[in-house]
Symmetry: C2
Subunit: 380 residues, 2 copies
């Protein structure tokens, strides 16, 4: 193998595939990045067997020559070193040459690296997916859906299926749900599909995979194709494939958890309420329980308090809008509500309580594309 | 005690004194910040007994009222919470009220904090220094002197005196030296002094203190007064006092270590040489020894190499200027030389070798205000 490539373009893609590579793998060959040169361009692959990323750099892009291939071939190079090395190379161009025994030379400017490569034949094949369950949505929308749900997945391995985000779809609507059984985040969106009868459920993507995917997705409305199979999901972008394993197990039915009636409800400005809770959390996180108390007052106001026996107490009174229903006094995990308020883009939210010991709901006022559900905390 | 204060101005000074407070102190009262209100303004103090910082906020600044004092007094508040709280308060103004039993109320906008304070009488007094050894220099120059030496102090407690930077002065010149016995950084500067006969040596300031001081010093050429006593040093800025304990013990005499003759020498561009070493370090740090090899070639060129038996090898050829003396082959700790090159502001450096197993010197070409000395590493 022998090719020259524009350094910046190469670095861009090497960083992408390196995201999939873990240094703590039990399969030594997976600490490497696979590089394949054929007559069309360069293909790079990285994988930790849960997530695999494959990118393609074509010979020409925007009428500009990016790669010059002198000899086709392939090699595996240690991801950790290779990604650092290409980033720091001094020249505009990089030349990569593989000789006998996988000995690899990288030249750029004044710099010559001789690296020990590994046999590309030993690299596992990526899954080949039959493209039957296919839909598409804009990249920026997918990025938002991830941001607005993935923070709520469980970090505990006791119920592995809750460490993922659940996808289900019917009638052209995609619903993403994440819950750690104390809080739930749900996000809906409209998708494009080839087959009008497309319908699926219990497609659970590990939260970790979605966090990696989110770093790669760009803020454009270019469409991204999504292929779902029994145990894999594939996100197809221009010149980039992102594969993730799906989680096994039955995801809980969450629709029935969301209360439909209301005992007390009001509207609040999102950002000021977030800042009030952040101040209250300064004291309540000291006890490591993050408990914040909220009660309704007269004149449509609410009082937010939190206490640390050692440090002290904080009290804030806030005006609300459209307060309806009974007086209410409730305690909750402030950190969980803060997490949700941080991903709500709307200026105003609607909070609906169903009782002091029942879950409550926060939604944006201006649309119903997402909602957040929280269990209260018993403080007596 | 009762006063109102501009929030941003208060936050600025609280952040400064909080830098001196350690949460891992054995003296519980030192986890707090002392706040004193008198008729002139507010004084804040933080200390970990090694470093103490005292700032003063006058009632008026730039013809603007900053503080309104309604009742004088003092209190100690937990630094960790207090610093976070004032930063997050919602209003432009903060009101602080101390009632009986050190119960403290902080009001700002919609927010009311009730904090448990501590008895200010229990707070240790700051050292009172007789101002006999006094000199002054511009703040930005002191900041540079710290940056260009403190990285070279020892992190090992086996020879405590080497964890500090040594100050000595004679004939209006201040010399700062740091060494961990493998490398040495030396920086000279001209200072102003009241007493023309000012002369001192073996004033060793803990590196940790200087790092904190450096965060507080601003990039201005306002003068800073320095008072030196037997076991304390005091840096006096406008409305801010920074005290540090000095290290005990005899600092080694370093002047004699600096070679005066040369066997081989040449000049190099600083930045490209730094980048070459950074690339070489990618491989040599793998073996945890950071060894980089340098040898002279024909035509005034040098070769820089490093090897990781597992990963591979890197080789770079660089042009030098004014090469003089014998052929040379030497190995050194690349991380140490990189640290020094990063703080050299000059475009070009002069390297002087005195033999393969003797220390070598790097200096800027355009002045002799600083130099860096390195021991070679034996590789056979």
């Amino acid at each position: 193998m022998r090719f020259s490539i524009n350094r910046d373009r190469f670095v861009h893609d090497v960083q992408h595939v390196a995201k999939a590579v873990s240094s703590r793998t039990t399969v030594p060959i997976l600490t490497g990045i696979k590089i394949v040169a054929d007559h069309e361009g360069i293909t790079l692959t990285g994988s930790d067997s849960d997530v695999s990323i494959e990118t393609f750099i074509p010979k020409e892009e925007d009428d500009r020559e990016v790669v010059t291939i002198e000899e086709t071939g392939s090699i595996i190079l240690q991801a950790r070193f290779f990604a650092e090395i290409v980033k720091k190379l001094p020249g505009q161009e990089i030349e990569l040459i593989v000789q006998d025994q996988f000995a690899t030379t990288i030249r750029s400017g004044s710099s010559v690296f001789n690296l020990n490569g590994l046999d590309p034949e030993e690299y596992p094949r990526l899954p080949e997916l039959e493209e039957n369950l296919l839909f598409r949505l804009p990249q920026d929308m997918l990025k938002n859906m991830i941001r607005q749900t993935v923070f709520a997945v469980s970090t505990q391995e006791t119920r592995p299926v809750l460490t993922g985000v659940n996808l289900e779809s019917e009638d052209g609507e995609l619903i993403c749900t994440a819950t750690d059984s104390h809080r739930l985040a749900m996000r809906k969106a409209t998708i494009e599909r080839n087959d009008e009868s497309l319908s699926f459920s219990n497609v659970v993507i590990p939260g970790k995979s979605l966090n990696e995917l989110s770093k790669i997705i760009e803020d454009t409305n270019d469409l991204i194709d999504v292929v779902v199979t029994e145990n894999q999901i594939l996100f197809k972008m221009k010149n980039l494939l992102f594969f993730s394993r799906l989680l096994e197990g039955k995801y809980p039915v969450t629709k029935s958890m969301i209360p439909t009636q209301s005992k007390t409800s009001f509207k609040l400005k999102t950002k000021p309420f977030l800042h009030t809770l952040e101040r209250a959390l300064l004291l309540s996180r000291e006890g490591k329980n993050n408990v914040i108390n909220l009660k309704t007052l007269e004149d449509s106001r609410i009082e937010v308090t939190s206490i640390s026996p050692e440090v002290g107490k904080v009290t804030e009174h806030i005006d609300t809008v459209d307060m309806q229903g009974e007086d209410m006094r409730i305690s909750f995990n402030g950190k969980n509500v803060i997490d949700a308020l941080k991903v709500i883009d709307s200026e105003e939210i609607h909070i609906v309580f169903t009782g002091a010991m029942s879950p409550f709901v926060i939604r944006p006022v201006d649309h119903d594309n997402y909602l957040h559900l929280f269990s209260p905390v018993r403080t007596y």
